[in-house]
Chain length 258, copies 2
């Protein structure tokens, strides 16, 4: 199995190191990831600037390509042009992560980790995003990496319908303490954000985002609830954003003459 690994925290992050090590045990790995951190970058593609690719030999532990762009840039550049140009195989699966921080509920729409997996499905390749529900300075990537080893070949064997990707979130626990796997839907937890107003040394104001995550209780079939139960959450996503139910209501009841 040929596996393309990327990560929005960049090629030098701890998370991608753990995912690369896990993927090496099950297939041939190519790494193409942003040069620097690209958090909350959403599904950005770089169109007004050119991209450069730097060959990186990280700590002798892995060789890879670093791009001065977003995670989605990495996937699309690799699959559309770069790998073929280098005589490298196209991936059977694209994996993204392991993100340091949960990508559940509303977080999904801001996530560079998820967008990389989405971009793979746009190019008709299975994509799987891995995230760790932890904000500790020294995160425990072990269970997420162990599950990745087991789940990636399973997804490859099962196959995904076109346009579908897998969004995996793991609790920050050793593998032995994981209570199980749950197939979930995207929940509705949200951020209670504000911006802190500060003054710079010239006494000019600036604003900095800060927030706390509000866990919506009682959504027992959702991603955040599974994590709370010490389970690994797996959510199938797609990028059909149509609200089909609302569309039906509009077609039946909304004006069409304006």
């Amino acid at each position: 199995m040929n596996i393309l690994v990327t990560h929005d925290d960049g090629i030098n992050s701890a998370g991608i190191g753990h995912l690369v090590e896990a993927m090496k045990t099950i297939g041939d790995v190519i790494v193409m990831a942003p040069l620097g951190e690209q958090s909350a970058v959403g599904h950005a593609l770089t169109v007004t600037l050119p991209l450069r690719v730097h060959e990186i030999n990280r700590d002798g532990s892995f060789f890879g390509f670093a791009v001065d762009g977003t995670p989605a840039d990495c996937v699309t550049l690799a699959m559309r042009t770069f790998l073929a140009e280098k005589g490298l195989p196209l991936p059977d699966v694209v994996v993204s992560g392991i993100n340091h921080g949960r990508n559940t509920a509303v977080n999904i729409i801001y996530s560079g980790t998820v967008s990389a997996a989405t971009e793979a499905t746009v190019l008709d390749c299975p994509g799987i995003a891995f995230s760790l529900a932890s904000y500790n300075a020294v995160p425990q990537f072990g269970a997420a990496a162990e599950f990745a080893k087991r789940f990636v070949p399973y997804v490859d064997a099962q196959g995904l319908t076109r346009g579908t990707l897998m969004n995996v979130n793991a609790p920050p626990l050793p593998w032995e303490q994981i209570a199980g796997i749950e197939y979930t839907r995207q929940g509705s937890s949200f951020w209670e954000d504000t911006f802190e107003r500060r003054l710079d040394p010239m006494q000019r104001p600036y604003y900095w985002l800060k927030g706390s995550y509000h866990l919506v209780k009682g959504e027992t079939d959702c991603d955040d609830y599974a994590l709370h139960q010490k389970m690994i959450s797996v959510t199938p996503l797609h990028y059909d954003l149509t609200n089909h139910k609302f569309l039906e209501a509009m077609r039946n009841g909304w004006r069409q003459d304006f």
Copy 2:
């Protein structure tokens, strides 16, 4: 009606000027938009850097606030902190656009214009994105602006369910030549992208995205088809990305022991 206007092409773009003029005829307008162009920025939020706000008096035609961030930054900063701090009213509706270029099918996932409207719905405020299906150097914003005048009050009166936004795309025609309004779903047209490899003056390679849009034929209930029929396309979107059908299949047939 209090209307917050934003736009991913920035506060100095032609498109936002047309939308502001249209909105002024139906309500009280506040403009908060990126300082510069933010195309294909997706749903990015700026978390690692602070944001600054600049007061702009554009050509004497309108006053507004420019933010050195993304369209989603503008909406969330305005609604969570900035408007209240300035003693300004919260919006009844957030409108984004008029984007120069269609935001249909796969384009939706990369769109800063759509992400601004999505961010409004995250904050429980109706959001409407307006785009023009034209790449002409001198675009005809007239019909999109005219429809915005008529449609925004209608949406305000109808109300949107929480998490739902409207994605409007107009053909580049005078209002009189518009064939009608169509309530559509997101289509499956896509980009046949490649990257052009070039050499800089130092003979180092760089890659630049280029592509052509592949219109999928025969999707008669979809956004791009409506535009092709000289109709204005209105698609209700939401940010529940769960593939519910696939989730059902996983729950019934996929392994749960790993």
